[in-house]
Amino acid sequence: MKKIRLNILSIGVLLMLLFSCEQESTQKLPIMGRKEYKEVNGSIDTLYHTIPSFEFLDQDSMKVTDNTMDGKIYVADFFFGICPTICPVMKQQMLRVYGEFQDNSNFAILSHTIDPEHDTVAYLKDFSERLGVMNNNTWHFLTGDKDAIYEIGSSSGYLVPVGEDEDAPGGFIHSGAFILVDKEKRIRGLYDGTDPKQVTELINDIPKLLAEYE
């Protein structure tokens, strides 16, 4: 009797494990942001929120645009070099993401400075190398026109708050979000870049998103 009970228990546990694995692998990442619906020849088309076109310079003075990201999925974030609050933790966590996927040519990271007056190309080069990022193959540290940076961070782009604020430590407010973008420029995930658990989630989600294109 005892053995049969054990039997049932172990089958149950195995089934639960199987079920939980299956659910995880078939679940697609959500598509985030406002949807619009358009009628085309009698059927409804869903238009998803996409990242608008942009043009910035990276740490190697290379022009990085939305076209540079064609055929890639990428993670975006916002920071500034002399930030006294959450940026160092975000960079520590982004290094984990970089460590996992730096050799994948279908993957990129775009880190936008929100203090372009201070964070010039030369500064970002030094900053990235001190972080241990020795080339711009995968991780681009972007600077450029301040208004364009704030615009792309806002509701028309990555859906995160960025901007200047005299009262904030360091003079800027910005979100600690890591934003996962697919090859169609749609936002597929928002993660708290200061929370190691959420960054682990991101690291698990990136292969799922890449798998959609296989």
């Binding site: 172990s10 160092p88 430590p169």
Partner: protein, 163 residues
Amino acid sequence: MSKGGQKPEVRGQRNNASYCLAFLLTFILFFSISCSSNSTTGGADVQARLSNKELKYFTNGKKLYTQYCSNCHMDNGEGLGKLIPPLKDSDYLIANMSISAQMIVNGYESPIVVNGIEYNQPMPANKNLNPAEVIEILTYISNAWGNDYGSVDEPEIKSALSR
């Protein structure tokens, strides 16, 4: 998998039973590992090194460290690349306790060399910290993550901070 479990053979049942046992053992192992570390009060070596009063400093210092320092110097005290210097195994900290106390309160702008590497990120000031809190932070960072510098010289730190 489930087919094998339904077979009435004794051998199959025993296998399942051992699966179960393995599962249980794994869980128990998991929990015992995750609950075993008690970092708030420090390990046995920290408790041997510090007096009861200093252990209170250490515990308070850990809270203050999380609030004021760990954003940049990280929970593990290792800093960030060549941007933010480590406090763990830092040759600078042990040799410059008084200056470190002043840095915590007043911030620091100039480049600083730690373990042979030059760092030049500015460190923000924390003017609202009082000397007692600075001593608590110093006690924590001097004895956390394998650092074993022991007691912080309170009169020395207080006089450094009154300068």
